[in-house]
């Protein structure tokens, strides 16, 4: 998950799974300017986990695996090839030869091992450490009894072997995460805690200049191991700028990509303007906005009450309130995620039916509860729409609109009966259905402080989830998807969530930026794929 601070601009997956063709060779050169409102915190791939730095890190570093540009199709990256043992427990990666770090040294299997040791070492405080839980020896790292993963071995300088303690169908996605990026030990040692300010990777760009709180400059890595990549010579990131102003600057030709997207207040105006409409590219996003219903808080502990709430929400109206920048959802997974159930109807908006269910639960006159919400626009507005829908069936929901930290705390300790997830919601880390389960719907996340804010824990489904993730044979892909589909539909029977909508992503870019549309709504690189977009003025 990355916290999209502006939910209105958050964004995306791909509706077309077709890999765009990059056969035509665009000339390298030119530059672009990207703006963000919030400062870039760190460029350390083991730590960076927010809206701004996620794709910046992707351009500075590489991992063993990656995705085809503009798609969510896995492909080997620093690994030239990989093999998986028949039991699904041993992964062997053969590395590309001659890949150099920005400091000129060649990257080897030792670096891969070092990077995985580093990210799983608690001293690093990586928010992504938990993803590597299936690697053999992870537990010893987590409790501090080991400083090296016993499951990761260097076979030779160009071969690394990773042993898992349990089958993990998502493992290739895990090593494609930023957290698994390969970093050089000597640079980490040199800069210590400031490595995030002096990143050294193997990526398409290197950091040339960083003026804190103002500007970062990325320069093309001339020795990049992928020929013809990246297209641009330079990217300037300007931070601290309001999205409204970024849009004005785009209109003046001073900005190429407003990183926070089109602000809600300008959206309709820009969308309906014939000059700018062609510059907007719309895509889906691996994101779901939902209401959590705490299954331990009476009367929400009654499944009929939760179903009634599901039926009471007028999701079309909420989509209208966000100016149509989302599509109505009826299940946890977004439509572009494998495992999505296209035929599932969900709980249809039905006020009378909802009232009947409440009456059946013994609450014909409704009840009073609280709805927590993160205080940035448009979330309080959405909460008020939910509040009005609930009052129509007799439920009085008092809104608590708070700073992000307060909401997360109330969700984690279970004191919040209902939470609208907007602005803190789940954007998938990788395009796999399991990513929507564990921390936010599974038993692991339901513990004190966990991110499963409904505190829903179904042991039976947990077992099924583990079973589904043990299906590692690529030939059984559809079987695994079906298993996940069943899990999510079973969850909906218990109704711990009200899935409300899936955000759509709208990227606006200057006329000078070229490349297939898919690159501008890349499901993995948000807002755009920095490595492959090109400047038209140098063609």
């Amino acid at each position: 998950m990355r916290n999209a601070l502006l939910a209105g601009v958050a964004a995306a997956a791909l509706l077309t799974a077709i890999a765009p063709s990059f056969a035509q060779e665009e000339k390298q050169g030119g530059s672009m300017i990207v703006t963000y409102k919030d400062d870039v915190s760190t460029l350390d791939p083991a730590i960076g986990y927010d809206w701004q730095n996620w794709s910046m890190i992707k351009s500075l570093f590489d991992g063993l695996m990656d995705y085809e540009p503009g798609t969510s199709t896995l492909k080997p990256d620093l690994a030239e090839s990989y093999t998986i043992s028949p039991d699904g427990l041993t992964y062997t990666f053969v590395l590309h030869k001659g890949v150099k770090f920005h400091n000129g040294r060649e990257m080897t299997a030792e670096d891969v091992k070092y990077s995985l040791d580093r990210v799983t070492n608690p001293v690093t405080q990586s928010p992504g450490a938990g993803f590597f839980g299936s690697i053999d020896g992870f537990a010893a790292m987590a409790d501090g009894t080991a400083t090296s993963l016993s499951g990761v071995t260097v076979v030779d300088p160009y071969t690394v072997q990773i042993k898992l303690s349990r089958p993990d169908a998502t493992f290739l996605h895990v090593v494609a995460l930023n957290f698994a990026s390969v970093v050089p030990k000597e640079a980490v040692d040199e800069f210590g805690a400031d490595f995030g300010k002096h990143p050294v990777g193997t990526g398409a760009f290197s950091l040339a200049e960083w003026t804190l709180g103002q500007k970062l400059v990325f320069k093309r890595n001339p020795d990049y191991w992928k020929p013809g990549v990246p297209k641009l010579d330079e990217i300037d990131f300007e931070v601290g700028q309001d999205p409204t102003v970024a849009l004005l600057r785009l209109q003046k030709g001073e900005v190429d990509i407003p990183g926070d997207g089109i602000p809600p207040a300008q959206f309709l105006q820009v969308k309906d303007d014939p000059t700018y409409a062609p510059l907007i590219i719309e895509g889906g996003q691996l994101q779901t906005g939902y209401i959590t219903l705490n299954v331990h808080t009476p009367p929400l502990d009654n499944v009929d009450v939760r179903k009634a709430i599901n039926m009471a929400i007028n999701k079309d109206r909420i989509v209208q309130i966000v100016n149509g920048r989302a599509i109505v959802a009826n299940q946890p997974l977004p439509p572009s995620m494998p495992g999505y159930a296209p035929d599932y109807k969900g709980y249809v908006y039905d006020v009378e039916g909802a009232k009947a269910l409440l009456a059946k639960a013994g609450l014909p006159d409704g009840f009073t509860t609280e709805l927590y919400v993160y205080n940035t626009d448009p979330n309080p507005r959405i909460a008020q729409a939910i509040q009005q829908d609930l009052s129509a069936i007799g439920i009085t929901a008092e809104i608590k609109s708070l700073a992000q930290a307060n909401v997360i705390e109330a969700g984690g300790n279970g004191s919040a009966p209902m939470i609208w997830s907007g602005g803190m919601g789940w954007i998938a880390d990788f395009p796999d259905p399991s990513n929507f389960y564990g921390p936010i719907l599974g038993c692991a996340g339901a513990a004190e402080g966990g991110w499963n804010w409904s505190k829903y824990c179904n042991e039976d489904l947990d077992a099924k989830a583990t079973a589904a993730d043990s299906i590692t044979d690529p030939a059984k892909k559809t079987e695994r998807e079906q298993a996940w589909r069943d899990i999510y539909l079973a969850i909906m029977d218990d109704a711990p969530w009200v899935p409300v909508f899936n955000e759509q992503r709208f990227t606006i870019r200057s006329e000078n930026m070229g490349g297939p549309d898919a690159l501008f709504v890349d499901p993995v690189h948000v807002p755009v794929n920095y490595d492959y977009v090109f400047a038209k003025n140098v063609q």
Binding site: L268, Q269, I321, L402, N406
Partner: protein, 300 residues
């Protein structure tokens, strides 16, 4: 505007309050101020009867198909907001919150500030030092952080946010009043009074305070605008009125980025705040002129 009215000699002195009110009513600006204040108070008190609609009702036809708010029209005199609610009704109900904040909380803050400033400025010494260093401390006080803490501990309410505003907003008044009092206290006529054996209380009440009235009026009236807006910021962090309750401040705060596409959402509540503050200013100015001792018997 005022000098000509002030009588150069008052032959009889009927009840003081009666005189003040009568003199007040002779000033057109003061009357205008009173009328505006009366309108706002009546709207706030009788909101449920005065407002055309329920302020929380999100009308189905209050938004365009694309979800944009409606500009002022026949059905919604001041237009609708981003949720399709009637802006006029929200302003009328919001007057309750804004009066409590702008008049009560701000009034308390100005009172505390003036008291601290006068005492510290007149007595100086260790009392003054302690009071003014405490003022410095409070000026550095992270009010927003306090808001976040209180938001998590208490049930959000108007009175908590009013308390926070009264607690943090007196410091500026105290600084300014302190500086002025310090200077006044050293003036010759105060020395003269002292040597004649006047008590401190008498000097403060009859000679220092009247000179400070105009400053107090400035801070009290301008403070109405700023505290009404401050309420919105603090409520945003969770301690004040929570949605869907309206206040003039939160209407502006929530909609300010929409000022180009939906100007009515910013400029109408803005005008309401300015009018209220101006009304109090008219009234304050008039009262000062009437009560000012240096004006008595002069028509300069």
């Amino acid at each position: 505007m005022s000098e000509l009215i002030a009588p150069s000699a008052a032959p009889r002195r009927p009840t003081r309050a009666g005189t003040v009110i009568r003199r007040l009513l002779r000033r057109p600006l003061a009357v205008t101020g009173l009328v505006i204040i009366a309108i706002v108070v009546i709207a706030a008190v009788f909101a449920p009867w005065v407002a055309p609609y329920d302020p929380g009702e999100q009308f189905f036809d209050g938004l365009t198909l694309e979800g944009a708010p409606l500009p002022p029209n026949g059905a919604f005199l001041f237009g609708t907001d981003l949720l399709g609610r009637d802006l006029l009704s929200r302003l009328i109900f919001g007057a309750q919150t804004s009066l409590v904040i702008g008049v009560v909380a701000n009034g308390i803050a100005v009172f505390i500030g003036a008291l601290v400033g006068i005492v510290a400025g007149y007595f100086r010494g260790w009392i003054g030092t302690i009071l003014m260093r405490f003022t410095d401390l409070m000026m550095s006080f992270p009010a927003l952080l306090l808001a976040i803490v209180l938001a998590a501990i208490f049930k959000p309410s108007l009175w908590i946010v009013a308390m926070v505003i009264a607690m943090v907003n007196w410091v500026q008044v105290a600084r300014v009043i302190y500086t002025e009092t310090r200077s006044l206290a050293e003036r010759d006529f105060i020395e003269a009074e002292r040597s004649l054996g006047a008590s401190s209380a008498r000097i403060l009440w009859s000679h220092i305070l009247p000179h400070l009235v105009s400053t107090i009026v400035v801070w009290a009236t301008l403070g109405i605008s700023t505290t009404v807006l401050l309420e919105a910021t603090l409520s945003f962090l969770g301690i004040g009125v929570q949605p869907p309750t309206a206040s003039w401040g939160n209407i502006i705060f929530e909609n300010q980025t929409y000022f180009a596409s939906a100007p009515w959402l910013v400029f109408i509540p803005g005008a309401a705040i300015i009018l209220l503050a101006l009304a109090f200013n008219f009234l304050g100015d008039a009262l000062r002129d009437i009560l000012d001792p240096t004006q008595q018997g002069r028509s300069a």
